[in-house]
Symmetry: C2
C-alpha cells in the first residue's frame, strides 16, 4: 500500500532534483539581497532555500505557506538544493511580532519565557533536535530489548495504595474514593516477569517531590525493564550496559554530526562497589563519609570525574548500595546483608539508571515487609506472584529526560522535556 | 556487543539441536506414562518437553526450575524438540493448589476470578498471546509512522484545566491545588504539529466515565497521530487506513497461524457519509433515525454487517459526523456546516478510531469557543499555536485495548487489558 495523499516532506527533496514538487512549511527566515529574496522554509523535517527574483513576498515570520516549484541543485544551500521562483500560497498568516525568535541563536529567550510560549518556542531547530534525539533513544531502547525477546507492556497508572513507599505520591479522587498515581511500574513489571519472563515499558511516572531543582519533574518518562532467570544483579548490569549502547547507537546513526560531545563509551563499563567508592571519596576529600548510606550529588560528580580520567568512560556502575536506602523488594547481598545486590549507573557524574536483583521468594517478602514495618495492605495481588513460583529476577529504570539532558549538556531538564510539570508549573 | 550472561530462551532451542543447554522456566504440566515422565516447561517465550526416565520429579505446578541437558529432535513434541533426562534444579517451589489452572483450557476461571488473581492468570498461554499480539500491533503502529517521518512524543498527563469538555475527568491534589488527568493528548499533539509537522504518541489516557460496561475502562492506551499540510480529513483517513494495515501486517507476521478470524482487509476501506448511513439504517429498521446526532452501538453494529456483506470488509469509514457531537476544534464541512470534516473507523461493528481535520486559524478557534459557550481559561498556551501560524492539520486516535478485543473476539475488553481499571476495580 502506498500513501498517495501524504504531502512531500522537505527532507525528501534531495531525492527530487529537477522534479516539480509541492511542499508546505513555515517561513523561517527571509533575507533580501539586491532585489533577490532568499527564504528559508521549515517543515519540521528539514529546511529548504527558496530563491525569489520575480515576485517577492512580504509576510510575517512563522506564516504557513505551500510552495510549488522545481528542485535545483545548489551546493551552497542547506541540503544542497533550492527552489527558484516557486509559486507561493499563503495558508495561514502569523501574527506579528512572534514572541520567540525561532530562527535566531539558541536560546532565543530565558527558560521561563520559552516554557510559557512552548507552542512557538518548540519550533526552534534546537528544540526540534532535542525531541528527535529523544525519539531515537527510545527507539534504540525498544529495538535492543525486542531483539532479546522482551515484550512491551502497558500497566496501570492509577493505584489503590501508594506504590513502594507512600511518600511523594499524588492523590486522585476516584469515583468517590482516594487513589494514587503510580510512581513506577515496579510491582507490575515484576508480576509480568512471572508471565512473560522478559518485559519492558515506556510510560509516564509521577512524583510529588517537593523539590524545585533543575533535575526534578513531577512527571517524567520512565524506561523500565525486568527479566527473569538472572544469576544476580550482574546479569542486569550487563543488560543495562547493552541497552544504553543500543540507545546511543541508534541516536548516533541519525545525529552523528551533532556538535554535542558524544559520550565516552567503553566496551565494558567500569564497576565500583559502594563501600570502595565511599572510601575513595573520603580519601579524596579528606573527610570520612564511609558511614553515609547513599551518594550525594557531589559524590556522584566526583565519581563521574574519576571514571572519565581513570577509565576513559562517561559511565560508571556503583554496585552494592546499603539496604537502608533501597526499597523493601531489593535482594540483599548474602555475603554481607547490610549491602544489597543493587546498582546505579552514573552517567557524567549523575545517576541515570537504578536497578538490581529483587527478592523472589514469598517468605523473603513477608520478612522484608516486617523488618521495615510496612503493611501488606493492598499488596496481596502482588505477593501472590511470589507464592506461586517466581524466578530469580531483576531489572532497572532509566529516566528518559535526564538521559537526554545529560547527553546534550543542557543545564535544566526542562529544556528537553515537552511541556514540563513541576511544583509550580501546570501550563501550557 | 554480545550479551553473554543472558540466559537462553526456550524459543531459541530449535536452533540448538544436539547442543547442551541450560534454560529456566515454570513447570507447566506433568504427565506420567508407564514409568516415564513428560514435563512441559514454559518460560514465556515458548514451551519445551522434558522426558524424564531416570530420576522423576515431584513438584507442584508453577514451580520454577532450571534444567540442563541436550536438545534432541522430536517431531511429535512442541517446536519439534525435547530434552531427555536433564538435570533439574528447583529454584522456587510454588504453593499448592495454584488458584488458576494455567495449563488447562481457556478460560480457566471466570473473568472476575482471573482479574483478582492476575499475577497467576496472566501466565496462561492464551493471556500471554494477547499481550504479545498487543505488543506487535503497537510495533506496527510505530514502524509505519516512523517510516513516514512521524516523530514520537511524550506529553503531560497532568493538566491545570480539564481538557476538551470538562466532563468525566479525574481530579488530582497537586501541591495544594486541583489538577486533572488528561483524557487525551489532543492539545499537545496539535501544538507539536506546529513544531515537527508529523507526530505520534503511545500513552495512557484517563476517563472518569461512570459506565460499567464490557468496553469501558478508566485507563486505556491511546495511539495518537497528528499531521500537518493535509488537504482535508481524507488525507487523515488515508493515513489511518495505512496505519491499521501496517499494524495488522506486523501482528500477522508473528501470529499468522492463530485460530483467530483474521479481519477482512480490502486495499481501500469503504466510506459512507453519516447522513447516508442514517438514511440506510432508517430504511433497514423501519424507523426514522435521520435526525439523531450520533450513531448508537446498534447502528454501528448494523453498519459493520453491511460493510462485511456488501464490501467484504471488516472496516468501514463513516465521515461527516454532525458538529453537535464533535469537539470544538473540529473543522466544519464548508459546504454544509452542520456536518464536520470528521470520521470514525468502524471495525467489526464497533468504533475503533475517531479522527478528522481540526481548525487551524486563531479566529476560527475564538469563534468556535464562543459558539459552544466554552471558556478560553487555561487555553492561552494552546491557542498561541494558532495565532502564530498553523497549517491545515488533522489526526486520529486508536483505542489499543479495544482493537485487540475486537481482533481476538473476546467479549470483554478486560480480558486483553493488563490489570484493568474501572469504576469498581483498582486491584491488583
Amino acid at each position: 500500500m502506498s500513501i498517495s495523499h501524504l504531502p512531500r516532506l522537505i527532507s525528501e527533496l534531495p531525492h527530487a532534483i529537477n522534479q516539480r514538487v509541492t511542499v508546505g512549511g513555515w517561513i523561517h527566515a527571509v533575507r533580501n539581497l539586491g532585489g533577490v529574496q532568499f527564504v528559508v522554509l521549515r517543515d519540521g523535517s528539514a529546511t529548504v532555500q527558496l530563491v525569489l527574483r520575480k515576485s517577492l513576498i512580504s509576510v510575517n515570520p512563522e506564516t504557513v505557506v505551500r510552495v510549488t516549484g522545481i528542485v535545483s541543485s545548489e551546493p551552497r544551500a542547506p541540503q544542497g538544493i533550492e527552489i527558484r521562483d516557486p509559486e507561493v500560497e499563503i495558508l495561514s498568516e502569523a501574527a506579528n511580532p512572534v514572541p520567540i525568535d525561532v530562527a535566531g541563536q539558541f536560546p532565543p529567550a530565558s527558560l521561563p519565557t520559552r516554557l510559557n510560549t512552548a507552542a512557538v518556542a518548540l519550533r526552534h531547530p534546537q528544540a526540534q533536535n532535542w525531541i528527535k534525539i529523544t525519539a531515537h533513544l527510545v527507539k534504540g531502547f525498544r529495538d535492543t530489548l525486542s531483539s532479546l525477546g522482551f515484550v512491551e507492556i502497558h500497566t496501570p497508572k492509577i493505584l489503590e495504595t501508594p506504590s513502594e513507599s507512600g511518600a511523594n505520591v499524588f492523590q486522585i479522587e476516584y469515583f468517590g474514593r482516594p487513589a494514587y498515581l503510580a510512581q513506577s511500574p515496579q510491582f507490575y513489571k515484576q508480576m509480568m516477569v512471572g508471565s512473560l519472563g522478559r518485559v519492558f515499558e515506556v510510560g509516564p511516572v509521577f512524583r510529588a517531590e517537593p523539590h524545585d531543582t533543575a533535575r526534578h519533574l513531577s512527571q517524567y518518562t520512565s524506561l523500565d525493564v525486568e527479566l527473569g532467570f538472572i544469576e544476580d544483579h550482574h546479569t542486569v548490569m550487563d543488560l543495562a550496559e547493552n541497552v544504553v549502547a543500543g540507545m546511543l547507537q541508534e541516536a548516533k546513526t541519525h545525529f552523528g554530526d551533532w556538535a554535542y560531545d558524544w559520550p565516552l563509551l567503553p566496551e565494558t563499563f567500569p564497576v565500583v562497589h559502594f563501600k570502595d567508592a565511599m572510601a575513595m571519596i573520603s580519601r579524596a576529600i579528606g573527610e570520612d563519609v564511609t558511614e553515609e548510606p547513599d551518594l550525594s550529588p557531589a559524590h556522584e560528580a566526583w565519581l563521574g570525574e574519576w571514571a572519565r580520567s581513570d577509565f576513559g568512560s562517561d559511565f560508571l556502575f556503583v554496585e552494592g548500595y546499603p539496604a537502608l536506602k533501597r526499597p523493601f523488594y531489593t535482594h540483599l547481598d548474602p555475603g554481607n546483608p547490610q549491602y544489597t545486590r543493587s546498582f546505579d549507573l552514573i552517567f557524567r557524574g549523575q545517576e541515570l539508571i537504578t536497578g538490581g536483583q529483587r527478592l523472589h521468594r514469598f517468605a523473603d517478602y513477608i520478612e522484608a515487609l516486617k523488618r521495615r514495618g510496612l503493611s501488606k495492605h493492598g499488596m496481596s495481588g502482588y505477593l501472590a506472584a511470589f507464592l506461586y513460583g517466581m524466578p530469580p529476577h531483576g531489572g532497572f529504570a532509566i529516566g528518559l529526560e535526564r538521559f537526554v539532558a545529560r547527553l546534550t549538556g543542557v543545564s535544566n531538564i526542562r529544556d528537553v522535556t515537552l511541556f514540563p510539570r513541576d511544583m509550580k508549573r501546570l501550563q501550557p
